[in-house]
């Protein structure tokens, strides 16, 4: 049988990936292109007509200072949150693979926050920041705790970061745990015999051998932080005075609350591009750093 004809290849493709391609196109590609088309219209979301306005939405996007502030805020939030999530996750992963008693229990425990939905989690933490911390601060007369952190500009950002770290650290920990487990015992033993301290072993042996875990974790955390919406909505709702509105929330407000669907869509597209560039760049750099044992 000749397996090198176009029709054979096409059949093979259709058989193995045809259905997936159709579904992928239907739920990702087509909506994406349709969204792209909407950025050139001044649709309000409900109207039957979608007047063509060329690049007016992009002009509006560039003139929308609140959007760029939100985007800048998102970058700051993402940088801090990504670093903290990964540092905490790495440390946790190290601790729960070091052979402490009941480490499976700890693994499950640290992972659980990730199973709670972002909305619920936001409300839980809102209660903690607004009531529990304040009550604690008042009874112990600790000044920094006696007013709600959520009521100050920097405090609200700090709260968002804390909650994100709490939410994602457990998930990333699992990936790092897999990374730690994949480092073969032989090399670790060899390093020990060569006189490496524990810290040196981690830094010089484990870390280089688990770069792929870092690449994955960074990619996941970066994209999630850039797209954060649910926690943002339930924890701060953009308050105080719209100072904690992240890019995704601004896009939502622009499109649905302020009824500028086209502008919102254009802003979403820019957010997507920023996110994609950062994500791809990070994966590319990360892949280069990978070594094989």
């Amino acid at each position: 049988m000749n397996t090198n004809t176009a029709s054979y290849k096409c059949k093979q493709y259709m058989m193995f990936a045809g259905v997936t391609t159709v579904v992928f196109a239907a739920v990702v590609i087509v909506p994406f292109l349709y969204g792209l088309y909407l950025t050139f219209t001044s649709w309000d979301g409900v109207s039957k007509s979608k007047p063509f306005v060329a690049l007016a939405n992009y002009a509006a996007t560039f003139a929308d200072s609140a959007y760029w502030q939100a985007l800048g805020r998102t970058v700051i939030y993402s940088v801090i949150a990504v670093i903290l999530v990964n540092v905490v996750a790495f440390i946790l992963a190290f601790l729960v693979t070091s052979g402490v008693k009941g480490q499976n229990f700890f693994r499950a425990g640290f992972f659980i926050p990730n199973l709670i939905g972002g909305i619920v989690l936001g409300y839980i933490w809102k209660f903690v920041f607004n009531r529990a911390f304040v009550a604690l601060g008042e009874s112990l007369s600790v000044g920094a705790l006696s007013t709600s952190w959520l009521s100050t500009t920097n405090g609200a950002m700090l709260c968002l970061i804390i909650v994100s770290v709490w939410q994602y650290a457990g998930y990333m920990m699992l990936i790092y745990v897999a990374g730690f487990m994949s480092v073969s015992a032989d090399v670790l033993e060899a390093a020990k015999i060569d006189g490496c301290t524990n810290l040196q072993t981690i830094w010089n042996i484990s870390v280089p051998l688990m770069v792929s875990s870092f690449v994955q974790c960074l990619f996941l955390t970066i994209t999630r932080c850039f797209m954060v919406y649910d926690v943002n909505l339930s924890l701060t709702k953009g308050e105080p005075f719209n100072s904690s509105v992240m890019a995704a929330m601004h896009v939502y407000n622009q499109a649905f609350t302020y009824k500028n669907y086209g502008t919102g869509q254009a802003e979403a597209l820019i957010l997507f591009v920023v996110c994609a560039v950062v994500g791809v760049l990070q994966v590319y750099v990360g892949k280069k750093a990978e070594v094989s044992a």
Binding site: V19, T257, Y258
Partner: protein, 435 residues
């Protein structure tokens, strides 16, 4: 062999799930018609109603069941806590609009011309002053009257002062402040509360500074053109003087913008505080707590002589419109019209509005005896002609952006001049909804 079988099974499963998805999509409008048909048994006309007032959803569903059984028309009631326009947008893009949609006044102006039918010939139009017309056609059916003002807990006040609380005695900020001082001296250390939500601060309170202007339209034009000079505006200052007083006695003065609405409402209901700005919809929250016997709403106190300190702001709130698209049949539209007439002209319908839902009727032929305390106050004001009409044409982002400015003021981050500048800057960059 086994592997081949497994692969075949997987492929089949995938194919089935894919076709199932596709099929579901094209069936959607038909199945929603069918949904209505399920509980009927009558003539088969089915209408869908979108309710956007969460506090009456249960009553609405019960009424729909009863109505369906009695009239032979299937009524399905839906609720969503999404923004009204955003929710309707999804239904319209799915080509599956509701027969009747309950929306806010400004949505009638934006949706009406394209999506609503003309209701000018309906009987109920004669009975109300609050219907909304667009381009000379009545399109919005007012569901109820709602008003904004100062909510008070008279039981708590009287317990301290020892005399009957008469709201009209405290129409000026000076008199109001005197009362607050008295309350403080009597042991209620912080007699006021302020909701920090942007829709309350800007959507409900700040907008009163527009609505009370002698000529609202001219004033909004001035704001838009940048010639309003807010900081020297008499109404703006009169309102802000009141707001300052509320801030001074606020129970959460140190953390005003972290106050949760539930906490503030509970304090008011239980008499820990005596005053808070709000509207009669707040009763659905107040009544969830152990509320005091004598409560009500009064006009916002102001040092002014223009008479606005004896009036509340309000009018028709929430409007029904009937869908005009091809997805809705003539029978459905007729059934929807019948339903609206039933609400206004049938005793059962009246009972549903005023007793089950506790709404202040917007129709002169409906009497309402058993309203909640806040709505009773609103009805008294409405009947006496003491409601200043809502300005329904604020831009959609007004409450959010000016709300942020009001929150800054509430938090002490900007002073009155700073607030005035921020509001002026906002208006220069936007324009009111066309009407």
């Amino acid at each position: 062999m086994k592997k081949k079988l497994l692969a075949t099974m997987l492929v089949t499963a995938m194919a089935v799930s894919a076709t199932a998805c596709g099929g579901g999509g094209s069936d959607a409008p038909a199945s929603s018609d069918g949904e209505g048909g399920g509980s009927s048994g009558g003539s088969g006309t089915a209408i869908t109603i979108f309710n956007s007032k969460s506090e009456i959803q249960d009553q609405f569903v019960q009424m729909a069941e009863k109505y369906s059984a009695e009239k032979g028309v299937d009524v399905e009631v839906y609720y969503s806590n999404d923004t009204v326009a955003a929710h309707l947008a999804t239904r319209y893009s799915a080509n599956d609009p509701y027969t009747l949609s309950m929306v806010d006044a400004k949505d009638i102006y934006s949706l009406g011309p394209e999506h609503a039918i003309d209701l000018s010939d309906q009987e109920w139009v004669q009975n109300t002053d609050y219907a909304i017309s667009v381009d000379g056609k009545v399109m919005g059916f007012p569901v109820c009257i709602e008003a904004r003002g100062l909510m008070y807990n008279a039981t708590a006040i009287e317990a301290i002062t020892g005399e009957e609380f008469k709201p009209e005695d405290y129409a000026t900020v000076d008199a109001f402040q005197g009362l607050l001082d008295k309350l403080v001296a009597g042991g209620m250390e912080t007699p006021t509360g302020i909701m920090k939500e942007d829709w309350s601060l800007a959507g409900h309170f700040l907008s009163e500074t527009y609505e009370e202007q002698p000529d609202v339209e001219a004033y909004i034009t001035q704001l838009h053109e940048g010639t309003a000079d807010l900081i020297n505006n008499e109404k703006f200052n009169a309102k802000m003087d009141y707001f300052d007083t509320m801030m001074k006695y606020n129970f959460a003065a140190g953390s005003a913008i972290a106050t949760e609405r539930e906490v503030a409402e509970q304090k008011l209901a239980e008499g820990e505080i005596a005053f808070m700005f709000g509207g009669n919809w707040d009763w659905s929250m107040l009544s969830a707590y152990d509320y005091s016997e004598k409560m009500g709403m009064m006009a916002v106190p102001q040092n002014t002589s223009d008479g606005t300190n004896a009036k509340m702001e309000g009018g028709g709130s929430k409007y029904f419109f009937i869908d005009s698209s091809e997805s809705t049949s003539e029978e459905q539209r007729q059934a929807a019209k019948d339903f609206l007439n039933w609400l206004v002209l049938d005793e059962e319908g009246n009972k549903f509005l005023t007793e089950d839902c506790n709404l202040v009727p917007a129709y002169s032929n409906i009497s309402a005896e058993a309203l909640d305390p806040l709505s009773t106050s609103v009805k008294t004001f409405a009947d006496a002609g003491n409601l200043i009409p809502n300005y329904d044409y604020l831009p959609d982002d007004h409450y959010s952006i000016c709300g942020a400015s009001m929150q800054k003021y509430l938090a002490g981050q900007i002073d009155r001049a700073g607030l005035a500048t921020e509001i002026e800057n906002y208006w220069k960059s936007t324009a009111p909804v066309e009407h």
